[in-house]
């Protein structure tokens, strides 16, 4: 039992939240609401998957919102839409994903070869991609007329949209990558002790570029799915994705200092955050106080779920 507490702190925190909300609100623990939580968690989860590898390597990527918005705009002007005449059909999806990969790889390459911290490089990339989205934006909001994309959000199987299933599939793949591929294993190692890997002749830079590129791909996918969900191309569509995603990773135990955590932990973090938002609405907290409660719960959840890890000789940055 005490072992369970030790290894599963964040999971227990999530369980605790669910129990509390279920007690205080009748509707929280309903099937329909769980579906609502999953729907709300899907896109943040995809972003968090991308971020997790980057964070595990002890880098950080702030370009999330820009890349997702840019992806959303590229998608909406290249598929059938109400404004432009281009229509490359579903080819738009690989196109957009490639754009995301490219942005990510560029960030990593600049950070590595110009030797600049990833925080600032990706911050610059954030501004740049936001600007590029604005540049590509046509005069009016393009509505997505490609139903094969918009159906992803609308079509429901067992009460859940394809977006949720797609996310679940992606989580499985990401878990597999984390456990079974050299890239996955090396990502954590890079975060823990990069100099040793370099001395062992491991091509660390490749793994870093791969992590950022994958992350970029994930944000682009998030941009596509946002497009499916909101049905229009909007330069602001990615706004608000970044901080919750980082917070979710950290909540789950994927720390910014690298070498720790993983996909499973980050996903638990996403669920904690989304359940919290949902639960606060369910129990009817004053909207003015919501952010204060959210803040307090984040601190308490992390403090509680890592209490057993407290050591005098522990670095906490």
């Amino acid at each position: 039992m005490s072992n369970l507490i030790k290894s599963q702190g964040p999971l227990l925190a999530l369980t605790g939240l669910v129990v509390i909300f279920s007690v205080f609100s009748e509707s929280f623990a309903s099937m329909a609401n769980f579906a609502a939580v999953l729907e709300a968690a899907a896109i943040p989860a995809i972003v968090a998957i991308g971020l997790t590898y980057v964070l595990m390597q002890a880098s950080i990527d702030l370009s999330v919102e820009g890349v997702a918005s840019l992806a959303n705009i590229i998608l909406s002007i290249t598929v059938a839409n109400s404004v432009t005449t281009t229509d490359i059909g579903l080819w738009a999806i690989p196109l957009v994903l490639c754009a995301g990969l490219l942005v990510g790889a560029t960030s990593a390459a600049v950070s590595i070869y110009v030797r600049m911290p990833s925080l600032i490089v990706t911050l610059g990339m954030w501004l740049t991609t936001v600007g590029m989205a604005a540049l590509l934006f046509p005069d009016r909001l393009p509505q997505l007329l490609e139903t094969r994309i918009t159906q992803l959000a609308i079509d429901k199987q067992f009460g859940l949209s394809w977006i949720v299933y797609l996310t679940l599939a992606l989580i499985l793949v990401a878990l597999w990558v984390e456990k079974y591929t050299r890239f996955g294993r090396m990502s954590r190692a890079i975060g823990e002790n990069e100099p040793v890997l370099i001395m062992s002749g491991i091509k660390v830079n490749r793994h870093k570029i791969a992590a950022f590129a994958l992350a970029g791909g994930c944000y682009a996918l998030a941009g596509i799915l946002l497009g499916a969900r909101i049905g229009v191309g909007n330069t602001q569509s990615g706004v608000g994705l970044l901080f919750p995603a980082i917070a979710a990773c950290v909540l789950g135990g994927t720390l910014l200092s690298g070498g720790q955590g993983g996909i499973r932990q980050s996903m638990i973090g996403v669920l904690i955050l989304v359940s919290l938002r949902n639960g606060l609405i369910q129990i009817g907290v004053d909207p003015l106080l919501q952010s204060a409660l959210e803040g307090a719960v984040i601190i308490i959840a992390v403090a509680g779920s890592t209490w057993h890890l407290r050591r005098k000789v522990r670095v906490i940055k």
């Binding site: 609100s25 509707s27 309903s30 329909a32 609401n33 579906a35 609502a36 729907e39 709300a40 896109i43 604005a134 934006f137 005069d139 009016r140 909001l141 509505q143 959000a153 609308i154 429901k156 949209s161 946002l226 969900r229 909101i230 049905g231 229009v232 909007n234 330069t235 602001q236 569509s237 706004v239 608000g240 938002r277 949902n278 609405i281 369910q282 009817g284 909207p287 003015l288 919501q290």
Partner: protein, 333 residues
């Protein structure tokens, strides 16, 4: 600084990629182009700090006689902006936001020509009454609010409360902050549906993006068209949904006209066609007309095409306040 400063309008906007902004910019551009001038559009991403930096950058090298039309993203900053432009010897018309306590005639009065807004209380009220009518005066509604400390969000809430006072059978079940955005609004709506189920008869989206978010969640639940949704902004997406019956109503301002009037006032004062001293308070702080769009007029609204000729400087100057909805009353900002 060699060019004629009267010919270049600095137009500070939220961003350049939404219907409202493109229409407003279009109106201002027509006016300036008709006098052989240009518009420099400055995007501030709804960030007052960025606005401050941008105004600082423009006025820093010297800006005697420059003209501005600016959207102060937060009313807290309006005073700083107009005073700054006053100090630099420029002229400014503001859009939407000013603090309750300050007016063009009492704060940097020579520089701050006018403040032009849309009546958020009226928008909230008319949408509310439309909802009341659709629900036959009975039923519970939920409200998706904008960013809480934005003036329009508060005005629209006040208007809705006014409508509820007149329509006591309508009650507010819940209010949440959707931050003007579609995706968060959709998540909130979904949560509401699980919490309140079919108790919800109507949804007030304080802008169109949030109305669309709510609609998306309703569609998932198979309730689109059954639960009434209102928006505000008059964006073409929403108007199309009104046509198809999935959204009840939205309020559209005369967006092009607002841009044109703001530009014309700034330019007119600058070149001396208009004397600030001659203007009344009602001419310096006023609402622009707006129209409620419902199924009845949606098609017509979509078909309308503004005629550039009507937006030339001369045409606007001929009767600048033709489409004013009157002075902004105290206590609404």
């Amino acid at each position: 600084a060699q060019d004629d400063t009267s010919k270049k309008l600095y137009l500070g906007v939220g961003n350049t990629s939404a219907d409202y902004w493109t229409q407003m910019i279009w109106g201002a551009t027509q006016v300036m182009e008709s006098v052989g001038g240009t518009v420099a559009v400055i995007g501030n991403d709804f960030d007052p700090q960025k606005s401050l930096q941008n105004i600082g950058a423009i006025t820093a090298p010297g800006c005697e006689g420059c003209i501005f039309t600016w959207f102060p993203d937060s009313p807290a900053f309006t005073k700083t902006f107009v005073e700054k432009i006053g100090d630099a010897g420029g002229f400014i018309t503001t859009l939407w936001n000013r603090a309750e306590e300050i007016h063009p005639w009492d704060t940097a009065p020579d520089a701050w020509i006018a403040n032009i807004s849309f009546d958020g209380v009226d928008a909230g009220y008319q949408n509310g009454m439309e909802l009341c009518k659709a629900m036959n005066g009975e039923g519970a509604i939920v409200v998706l609010q904008g960013v809480l400390d934005n003036a329009p969000a508060k005005q629209r809430t006040m208007g809705l409360e006014k409508a509820i006072a007149e329509c006591p059978g309508m009650t507010i079940l819940d209010k949440q902050v959707g931050s003007w955005q579609q995706a968060p609004a959709q998540d909130i709506m979904r949560t509401w549906l699980t919490k309140y189920g079919d108790k919800i008869k109507g949804v007030v989206g304080q802008n169109d993006a949030m109305a669309l978010g709510a609609l998306a969640a309703l569609r998932e639940a198979g309730l689109a068209g059954k639960v009434f949704v209102t928006g505000t902004d008059g964006s073409s997406d929403v108007v199309k949904q009104i046509e198809s019956g999935e959204i009840l109503s939205t309020m559209s301002g005369l967006n092009e006209y607002q841009g044109a009037v703001a530009a014309a006032l700034a330019y007119g004062v600058r070149v001396g066609d208009i004397k600030v001293a001659d203007l009344t308070e009602a001419q310096r702080d006023f609402f622009m007309q707006q129209i409620l769009i419902t199924k009845a007029n949606a098609t017509e609204f979509l078909a309308r095409k503004p005629d550039p000729a009507e937006y030339s400087y001369e045409a606007i100057k001929a009767d600048i306040w033709a489409k004013s909805a009157g002075q902004i009353p105290a206590g609404v900002n």
